[in-house]
């Protein structure tokens, strides 16, 4: 079932890959450059009594980053559905060869 990639295939791969790498790695670099917290979640600073005195939020909201990744995954899912539902070259030929010659 070897097939060459058409424009839709290439676009789906490019856009989904771009969105996922943007969400995970590129914005991750932005977070590192922006300073603490280096994780993707807010960090609570406490005093000696254990009371929260300050909360440091990440430079990029993790909701945005996960949203970009999920958008990339949704594009991959839609691409998969497109591939399953679109005709495959040679499919009809495969069906016709099933018919006995006699």
């Amino acid at each position: 079932m070897t097939q060459t990639l058409n424009t839709i295939d290439k676009a789906a791969m490019a856009v989904s890959g771009f969105l996922m790498v943007l969400g995970i790695a590129v914005l991750g670099i932005v977070e590192i450059l922006a300073g603490e917290p280096y994780g993707a979640a807010a960090v609570e600073q406490t005093n000696e009594a254990g009371e929260v005195v300050n909360t440091i939020y990440p430079a990029v909201d993790p909701t945005i980053r996960t949203g970009l990744v999920i958008l990339g995954l949704v594009i991959l899912l839609l691409w998969g559905i497109y591939k399953v539902t679109s005709p495959i070259p040679g499919e009809e030929q495969a069906r016709t060869t099933e018919v006995p010659s006699d």
Binding site: G28, T63, A94
Partner: protein, 174 residues
Amino acid sequence: MSYQAANPLSEEFSLELSGPLAGYWLAFLRVVTGWWFFHAGVTKLIEDGLSYSYAPIYLQGMEGTALGPLPVWMGNNLGWLIEAMVPLGETLIGLGLLFGVLVRLASVFGAFFMTLFWVGNASFGHGLVNGDLMGLLLFGTMIVFATGRYYGLDAIIERTKFVKNRPRLRYLLG
């Protein structure tokens, strides 16, 4: 034994997809991923049957995520279905991967589960890439490499006349 510095993959332990090591490793990944989900599902079935009540509670707690109101709505309105489908779905996905049956279809559902776990479980204190995202990527790997074709029943199923006459099914098998 010669060694090509320019192409270390060209030796007999080639990692080409057609090579024996690639098939062995992909099958191993599939079985371990399958066991992971099968274990998670079947133990829920043993303990709670088809009434895994934590599932809708988990979804109801997913407020303010990138998935918007969808998981909370599912938790509030589809609780009866979620309670049954989480243990059943995990078990079936696990069985599919363990035996290599309908691996791509099972992995799509596995990726859906892992997306909910990734977004819902994590506080991302150690960054966005965590075990749940890795699990999600594992299911992506199952789909891309069609791992059911390596020591899996999909390899046999795909050789049947039924599938050969309907090559589109290979997008769900494999």
